[in-house]
């Protein structure tokens, strides 16, 4: 099994697209969620755009699962906090049991939640349908520094590796009689032996990994080769142009409405 973050090994519509096309689409959807005048634009775009795309890309179940797990607690707390404590003069309230929710607060919370769904959902769909290397390759070919790409990729793999190392450290220290359960004092005593090997190990690894990538010609001058192909057919380039134009039009229209 590969540690590819959120990426799911499926075959579908979005998996065939160039990452730049997906990124442009995500930008357009996020822009629309903020620029369209209706407060529930984000929710509508989720249902009308992102979910059909998730279906076409065979990731719907996982997409909804991650989105709900991530955003549901945030949305619920937004509704509670803004509904109960929203400042302002509007006296309109909605009674839910013994609680009086301020109407303006709930509207604000719903608008924010709706936008959040798109802000989180669109990138999530990209990550679920794009292999990290393909994403980094597409961005690097467009001028992103290779070192940034390396950091993005290495983080995806090293975070699980660090967590495995943390488990190894805990095993080693428990085998030396360290009690990792019990009272606060007991646990506080265990912090240094548990954290220190992790940090020192990470520092030593970082130095050796720097050597390793140097010896694998990471900094060698000259043109690089990418092992995989990231196709970018003319139709996608045209689609990106259309999306940029649509986003520009939205901004201009919104600005004009504001001025009028």
């Amino acid at each position: 099994m590969q540690r590819t973050g959120l990426f799911l090994e499926r075959v579908g519509f979005l998996q065939r697209l160039n990452p730049l096309t997906k990124l442009t689409g995500a930008l357009l959807l996020i822009g629309a969620a903020f620029l369209l005048p209706t407060p529930l634009a984000g929710a509508a775009l989720l249902v009308l755009a992102l979910m059909p795309l998730a279906v076409a890309s065979a990731v719907l179940r996982s997409f909804v699962d991650v989105l709900l797990k991530t955003l549901l607690p945030v949305i619920l707390s937004l509704l509670l906090v803004q509904g109960l404590f929203f400042p302002g003069a509007d006296p309109a309230t909605i009674m839910l049991g013994p609680f009086a929710f301020r109407r303006a607060g709930l509207e604000f919370a719903l608008t924010t939640a709706s936008r959040l769904l798109i802000v989180a959902g669109a990138p999530l769909l990209i990550f679920q349908t794009t292999h990290p290397i393909i994403l980094v390759q597409a961005l690097t070919e467009r001028g992103m520094p290779r070192s940034i790409g390396y950091i993005l990729l290495v983080a995806l793999q090293l975070i699980p590796a660090m967590s495995e190392r943390a488990a190894g450290v805990a095993e080693a220290q428990r085998a030396r009689g360290l009690e990792t359960e019990g009272g606060l004092l007991q646990r506080a005593r265990g912090v240094l032996p548990l954290v220190s090997p992790l940090i020192v190990g990470a520092l030593v690894d970082a130095e050796e990994r720097a050597m390793a990538i140097e010896s694998r010609a990471f900094t060698a001058p000259g043109r690089k080769t990418w092992l995989h192909d990231v196709p970018d057919p003319p139709v996608e380039r045209s689609a990106r142009l259309v999306m940029w134009l649509a986003l520009g039009a939205l901004i201009v229209w919104r600005a004009a409405v504001a001025v009028v």
Partner: protein, 584 residues
């Protein structure tokens, strides 16, 4: 570059790390011709890794310091060219495999392709190189696996494959066999030989002298940063200067030397450094002819000529069986109560992998036990059942009579101390003394007893001179000794050591062997998980072989019958002395 010119050339090279008081390398002069396999041996801290780093440009470009003299690799002056350019001429495979993995690729296949991608090799050629390298390292079936999901041995093969895919004219390897099991080291030796025959120049630093003797064309011995011997393995590896420097000799030389002391090997007969040399020498002795060990790649021993024949005739008939040393003396069966009892233990990981399948065994007092098995046989899972870190999915694990399901790991730690292979997970204190003190303090020993245990453990592992130092300021081999001392000081009746000889030099291994025997004499038990079969055979008495989560063999080394030997040989190979007994 014409073939006659050396590919690696050091002229009076001296290097002192920034901030160090003493040079790590002193006046090293060396020329390595194309296609030669050159081994570098020496004690821990002798300068082997520095030499590897110097030949690849990491010294002085990555590790800074003062370099005097000249280092030319494949026509490039190392000091004058950055690593980014040198990588086209020389590749380095470091000793710590985990951190040799780039982290930027998600599959074995892509990891091997990472170097050629960076060199701008055309895509079709990358595919060809990667396929070849994976095949050469027998990893094609793992091509889609995450590099981080591989075992230590597989990771070692991966980083070698990744270096080979860059097609370097010169390949430098720092302890390439440290994670490999015996079949893995044999396969690597065959590969390196094939590469050298194709013209690749190979320089490798190594502690396992038997492997060096089998593989190298030439051996350079370092001591305190200076070359003390340089020549063909047959000459260098049995040179008394190596023993004086604490590097030791390969086992065939030691066996023959022992035979010589016992009058069963002609005095002027040269000492063999390979098993084949030993067997051939013995056969020649039996037949009344002098030894002419043509198998030794550089044949230095045969040079003494036929005048030895007359002396050989005076030596009584020498049998291979009598030459091999007797295994460690047997000790009486351990007295009850047992330290650990496993009864029909099954263990299934959350991933569904069934790692133990009905393991039953009893570990008693005063035992010296080897736990052997291939990677994935279940050794690590079994070890974690010995102190409750893992609890059986089915069956019972009793530690000092207590069911591990009903007690804590900390309580089990009073009876079983475990030193894991990766000592970096263990070391955290600012001084060796504090590190060693941590375990006995956790176990609640009174302060004066803690200090006594610390002193004893520090002396047992020969760490007196380093007691106030930070463990990370010590060379990796001594760090391992610190980790062992830290668990030894817990004074547990059972000490478990996972790959304790990895990276240790001859003197370190001897120290460990002595310690294990002393512990056994004190009625304490030691269980060793190791790929180092010779160490196990010479130091331990009971052998447990795990295969696919089951015990395939549980016997004593001195009671190995033909079936047991076949079983052992099929799974992990045989110690050199057992092989010798059953040769001819």
């Amino acid at each position: 570059m014409p073939d006659s010119l050396p590919v690696v050339e050091l002229r009076d090279a001296t290097f002192t790390y920034a901030g160090a008081a003493e040079p790590a390398l002193r006046g090293v002069s060396l020329t390595v011709p194309p296609g030669q396999i050159c081994a570098v041996v020496g004690r821990a801290g002798a300068g082997k890794s520095t030499l590897c780093a110097l030949c690849t440009g990491f010294v002085p470009h990555f590790y800074h310091g003062q370099l005097n003299g000249a280092v030319i690799v494949n026509g490039q002056d190392v000091a004058a060219h950055p690593i980014a350019e040198l990588v086209r001429h020389v590749a380095l495979v470091g000793s710590n495999t985990f951190s040799q993995i780039s982290g930027a690729r998600f599959s074995v296949y892509d990891e091997v392709a990472f170097g050629p991608e960076n060199l701008g090799v055309p895509r079709h050629e990358i595919v060809e190189r990667v396929d070849w390298a994976l095949q050469a390292l027998k990893m094609s079936h793992l091509r889609d696996r995450s590099p981080y999901a591989l075992s230590g041995g597989q990771q070692q093969r991966l980083v070698i494959a990744a270096a080979l895919a860059m097609r370097p004219p010169v390949l430098v390897l720092d302890e390439p066999s440290v994670q490999l099991d015996p079949p893995g080291t044999e396969e690597l030796a065959a590969l390196l030989r094939a590469l050298s025959q194709q013209g690749m120049t190979i320089l490798f630093a190594e502690h396992r002298l038997e492997w060096v003797a089998e593989l190298a064309d030439r051996v350079i011995a370092l001591d305190h940063g200076a070359i003390i011997a340089d020549g063909v393995p047959a000459d260098v590896l049995a040179d008394p200067v190596l023993r004086r420097a604490g590097i030791g000799w390969p086992r065939p030389a030691l066996i023959a030397e022992r035979a010589r002391r016992e009058g069963r090997w002609p005095a002027e007969h040269p000492l063999p450094v390979t098993l084949a040399g030993l067997v051939e020498g013995l056969a020649a002795t039996r037949n009344g002819t002098h030894c002419e060990p043509g198998h030794q790649r550089n044949g230095g021993e045969g040079e003494q000529g036929s005048e030895e024949a007359s002396h050989s005739n005076q030596v009584s008939h020498t049998s291979l069986h009598t030459l091999a040393s007797t295994p460690p003396p047997a000790v009486p069966s351990p007295a009850p109560p047992p330290l650990v009892v496993l009864k029909q233990v099954y263990f299934i990981y959350p991933t569904g992998v069934e790692a133990l399948r009905g393991v039953s065994l009893t570990l008693g007092r005063g035992e010296r036990i080897a736990l052997l098995g291939r990677n994935g046989a279940g050794k690590s899972t079994l070890v974690r059942h010995l102190n409750g870190l893992l609890r059986p999915s089915q069956g019972t694990a009793l530690v000092a009579g207590n069911d591990t399901r009903k007690t804590t790991v900390a309580r089990c730690a009073r009876h079983v101390g475990i030193v894991f292979q990766d000592v970096r997970n263990q070391l955290f204190a600012r001084t060796v003394r504090d590190e060693v003190r941590f375990g006995p303090q956790n176990l609640g020993f009174p302060p004066d007893q803690v200090e006594a245990l610390v002193e004893r453990a520090v002396d047992a592992l020969d760490l007196r001179d380093a007691i106030a130092e930070h463990p990370y300021d010590l060379p990796p081999a001594r760090r391992r000794l610190v980790a062992i001392a830290a668990v030894l000081a817990m004074d547990t009746p059972l000490l478990v050591l996972d790959e304790p000889t990895a990276g240790l030099d001859g003197a370190g291994i001897e120290l460990l062997s002595r310690l294990i025997r002393e512990l056994s004499a004190q009625n304490r038990s030691v269980l060793v998980v190791s790929h180092d079969l010779d160490f196990c055979y010479e130091t331990l008495e009971r052998v447990i072989l795990l295969r696919e989560g089951r015990i395939a063999l549980d016997t004593r080394f001195d009671a190995l019958d033909a079936t047991a030997i076949t079983t052992l040989d099929n799974d992990v190979g045989l110690p050199i002395e057992v092989r010798l007994r059953h040769t001819g």
